[in-house]
Subunit: 202 residues, 2 copies
């Protein structure tokens, strides 16, 4: 019997460096697999269906919601984004560990539906650095940045909802810690594939 | 404020390789500290008070029991063995991670007194290998070995009491896993020394 894979949810505020940590993690660990989200937004040039996203129309997405086929979803402006449960479950059943990079609201939805998932909250090293990163991106207004920073403080005052906290002081450190968490979680009695029959026989 | 150290309890049946794994762990991680036990048995040649054991007389040991000064203790034949709570707590308070190498009965006593301790059960790779190791030691009768092997099977059928299980297939693998567990446990929200004030200021 194949051992069930691990669902690792990497979450945290925008600007915490989720994307960089996930990419580094995948580069170092070829056996890890990144979950592919569904969206109703049109593909950008170069984006491929099934690689960057599963591109679906609004009716299809709303049917997936109605049929409870999403681990989590959100509507951002006029577009839906969500994590298809079937895709993730198939990978896990095949023994693959799956990485989900997602905001904290989505992460908490996943944890509710799939409590054995491992929820890692990536903490930016300081508020001023986070402000700097968000400002340098140039995609948010000063008002939106202020509101995001306020949000981060709220999220950090309620850390009991997360399984692990990782400070992203350097990408290497953060990846080391996520790797240790994955290795340790596989030693949990509930996940441990101890084969008593084999133990007794061999 | 110094972050509280971690108490790591390495347990498992005799012959599982606890001693070898602990020694390897301490060699690789100089900042780890091994707990020193108390005993009423006389020192063997070369053994030093405060290094190998704290050698105390029976009256002193029984006073320590009465005063609740031991994290765990056991009487083996005519001698007492136990873990002095003060020694461990002082190291932890100074931010040192402490390793406790101990049998499963003692480990469960420690976990009851100090639930934030991390209980790792070291699993021998197979029963036949364990039998071979115990036989080669030459210190146990065939009867005692049979009773020990029976005991291992009981312990393994009740793994929910342990925080982690580590198969000691090779010492290197086992040490890697214990190191990952230590690193991961430090990312637990309950142990995380997140300094919100510093986060907001710097």
């Amino acid at each position: 019997m194949t051992r069930q894979g691990l669902l690792i949810v990497i979450s945290g505020p925008s600007g915490a460096g989720k994307g960089t940590v996930c990419q580094g993690l995948l580069q170092r660990n070829k056996e890890l697999c990144l979950s592919v989200s569904c969206t109703t937004r049109p593909p950008r040039p170069g984006e491929q269906h099934g690689v960057n996203y599963f591109f679906v129309d609004k009716t299809t997405f709303e049917q997936m919601i109605a049929n409870n086929q999403l681990l989590e979803y959100a509507k951002v402006y006029d577009n839906y984004y969500g994590t298809p449960q079937k895709y993730v479950e198939e990978k896990l059943a095949a023994g693959r560990d799956v990485i989900l990079e997602i905001d904290i609201q989505g992460a908490l939805q996943v944890k509710q539906k799939y409590p054995q998932g491992v929820l890692i909250f990536l903490v930016p090293p300081s508020l001023s650095l986070l402000k700097e990163r968000l400002t340098n991106r140039g995609t948010d207004s000063a008002e939106s940045i202020a509101s995001r920073l306020k949000c981060v403080c709220d999220e950090l005052s309620n850390t009991g909802r997360y399984d692990y906290l990782v400070i992203n002081d350097t990408v290497e450190n953060a990846i080391d810690q996520v790797e240790a968490i994955i290795k340790a979680e596989k030693c949990r009695p509930s996940r441990f594939d101890f084969d008593m029959k084999k133990f007794l026989e061999c």
